[in-house]
């Protein structure tokens, strides 16, 4: 791994940017202007940012309900995302999708959807299209530990391995599916990456998922493996969401997880740790940190202003748009 100082600063910048955007959403949420469920990635930024670093803009990516960080790390347009959560016509789906449906084809982010496991086979199909094109792009499928339990995961992985498709699975294992812990859903001694290896993918595990450089290391290696035409790669990353499953608040008080567990992850917060490291190694100084923070703050303020000033879609859009229209060509039509 060859990470320059500039790379280090970029990684820090991207993690902080995603954190601050998500926190701004949480802060503004009470205003009742974002009237749709949000699943915040706060705590899980390292994996997302590392994947953005390992992937190219031209690579495809698909994701699930907790997709803000993936979309942003891949380079997705911030204004279009915030406007989408506000239901505005300038949103990335014209207000038809909301937080759980993000798309920015200009950076290869081909869609996130709300049903657990739903985009896994779609990513596999995109991977097959790349193989048919014979180009050297790859498709990244973001998923969580819950999606592993869906039948479609096995079906998709089986087909991807069978066809040796250029697909990189990034599984963020954050230990919970809504409020249900992993040990109530999967056998204790069976590791996700080991099961996947048995099905035939090349796998890697990052236990220190809060360490952005550890994530970069694993994801760069695996994306290079996939890009070289070797077939499917799968990286499992242990991580943790700080806030509630769905919504802007904390939910440690309801009793589904131990406060000690939460605090142990918080103590290893990816952004704080990385900031400390960059300062210690004199890669960045406090002034520069301050500048970065203000720059991001200004960008976020602009995005919220853009969203609030944007209009809702015209009312005709509530009752139209079902079908794509055919581009007329010359054909013999008979009845």
């Amino acid at each position: 791994m060859n990470i320059t100082n500039k790379d280090n600063i970029n990684l820090y910048y991207e993690m902080l940017r995603i954190r601050m955007i998500e926190e701004a959403i949480a802060t503004h949420y009470a205003n009742q202007k974002m009237r749709t469920p949000v699943h915040l990635s706060i705590g899980q930024e390292a994996a997302a940012v590392a994947s953005g670093f390992a992937l190219r803009k031209t690579d495809y990516a698909v994701s699930s309900h907790r997709a803000h960080a993936h979309y942003l790390a891949k380079g997705g347009n911030l204004n279009a995302m915030i406007a989408e959560i506000h239901g505005k016509v300038t949103g990335c789906c014209r207000g038809r999708g909301g937080s759980m449906h993000l798309i920015d084809p200009s950076v290869g982010f081909m869609g996130s959807t709300a049903i657990v496991g739903n985009t896994i086979p779609i990513g596999v199909g995109l991977g097959l299209s790349l193989q048919l094109n014979q180009d050297n792009r790859i498709c990244c499928i973001y998923l969580g530990d819950g999606a592993i339990e869906e039948g479609v995961f096995y079906e998709s992985l089986n087909f991807a391995v069978l066809k040796k498709l250029p697909i990189l699975f990034i599984c963020e294992n954050n230990l919970y599916s809504v409020y249900t812990p992993l040990h109530k859903r999967q056998p204790l001694n069976r590791k996700i990456h080991e099961m996947v290896a048995a099905i035939g993918a090349k796998t890697a595990l990052v236990t220190e998922g809060y360490d952005v450089l550890a994530c970069v290391d694993a994801l760069q290696d695996m994306s290079a493996y996939v890009r070289s035409g070797n077939g499917v790669g799968f990286v499992e990353i242990y991580t943790y969401r700080y806030r509630e499953h769905c919504g802007p608040n904390y939910d440690n008080d309801i009793g589904y997880r131990h406060i000690a567990e939460y605090e142990s992850w918080l103590a290893k917060d990816s952004i704080s740790l990385f900031q400390k490291k960059l300062i210690q190694e004199k890669i960045i100084n406090p002034d520069e940190l301050e500048k970065i923070t203000s720059k991001i703050k200004a960008e976020i303020e602009c995005a919220f202003e853009f969203a609030e000033k944007s209009v809702f879609p015209d009312k005709i859009e509530a009752t139209s748009g079902e079908y794509a229209k055919k581009i007329q060509e010359e054909v013999i039509c008979v009845n």
């Binding site: 990335c92 496991g117 086979p121 596999v124 199909g125 991977g127 097959l128 094109n133 087909f159 009845n335």
Partner: protein
């Protein structure tokens, strides 16, 4: 003109479509096996290569999602399933992905996929190999649902379905597979969303779909001997439904009997009756009616299916009652009640 079977017409449409769009893919369990999905995929792999025509794992849900991903990546697909009932495993990808993608992402992408589902009745197919679930699919905005009756329509509708930018559920009744009609060897399309008046008439509109159109024609032929002139309509497309053609017919005949291949609850026939009642109630001379299967699962036993599926004889009796006239019961067909013809010897 040249005559073709329904399956040969489907196969010919596939050859034309694969030739005119070099991005089009064709897959499904059994696509290149010795039986070629009842002959419908015959020689496709030989002609267009294993990268475009291939067999697939028994993974209906994932493969439907793969079709969505392929479409987003620029490759339209025709995916075939030998029994509709197995495709029920794919509802997430059909309903949440394929049907929604265009709308949900603000119209940025189209999802051109044709999903061929073969359905049927009789010969012991039983509760889970015979379901005609057209009304399920018809309920979902974003899908188009096609159900051709003749070989001629099957070819033209398959070509227009493949060239449509939307996801399409293409339903083929197994009992129609060996039926024959005139089929031009041209590349022709039949518009989606357009019903066909199969026979003009003045006394009653029989609105059929798929195999029930065949039973309707049998009933109409018999009824004509008693000076009852039936207008027979084959709806051909289930969603979007061509209500205008149905309304025009009922304005003329003032009576409607809708014929379904499935159970009556929330059926396509009940939808047709609802639309006609809402729009033309005051013009009707008798209560609009429908004929469908009994409202319980299809039995397997030869001894039971006889009392399960509606036939031309049931249509004749119902028409007589709606017209308040006496017509002798239609003689029963000589062939066993559970096969479409002598060609069908099972097993599926």
């Amino acid at each position: 003109m040249r005559q073709l079977t329904y399956t040969a017409a489907i196969n010919e449409a596939m050859h034309i479509a694969m030739k005119t769009d070099d991005k089009l893919l064709c897959y499904g369990l059994g696509t290149d096996d010795p039986k070629n999905i009842f002959g419908t995929t015959l020689d496709l792999q030989k002609k267009f290569g294993a990268h475009r025509v291939f067999d697939m794992p028994t993974s209906e849900n994932a493969m439907t999602g793969v079709a969505v991903g392929l479409a987003l990546g620029g490759y339209p697909s025709v995916m075939s399933h030998q029994r509709l009932d197995f495709f029920l495993l794919a509802m997430d990808q059909l309903v949440n992905s394929a049907a929604k993608w265009h709308y949900m992402f603000g119209g940025q992408y189209n999802v051109p996929i044709v999903i061929r589902l073969i359905l049927g009745r009789g010969w012991g197919q039983g509760p889970t190999h015979s379901q005609n679930l057209q009304s399920w699919f018809a309920h979902i905005p974003g899908l188009k649902v096609i159900s051709p009756t003749s070989a001629y329509d099957a070819k033209g509708l398959l070509l227009s379905s493949i060239r449509d930018p939307n996801p399409i559920v293409f339903l083929e009744h197994r009992w129609l597979h060996n039926s024959v009609s005139e089929v031009p060897d041209l590349d022709y399309e039949i518009p989606i969303g357009k019903a066909k008046v199969v026979q003009q008439g003045t006394d009653i509109s029989l609105v059929g779909m798929s195999y029930m159109t065949v039973e309707a024609m049998r009933a109409a032929a018999y009824l004509s001997q008693f000076n009852v002139n039936c207008e027979v309509i084959d709806i051909r497309t289930i969603r979007p439904l061509d209500v205008d053609t149905i309304f025009d017919s009922v304005r003329k005949t003032k009576r409607i009997l809708a014929l379904d291949t499935s159970q009556p609850m929330c059926s396509v026939a009940s939808e047709i009756i609802s639309r006609v009642s809402g729009h033309l109630f005051s013009q009707l001379k008798s209560a609009p009616q429908l004929i469908a299967n009994p409202d319980n699962p299809e039995p397997t036993s030869f001894g039971l299916t006889k009392y399960y599926h509606p036939t031309a004889g049931d249509i004749v009796a119902r028409v007589a009652s709606m017209l308040a006239i006496k017509i002798p019961a239609m003689p029963e067909s000589m062939r066993p009640h559970d096969v479409p013809g002598d060609w069908f010897k099972g097993p599926f």
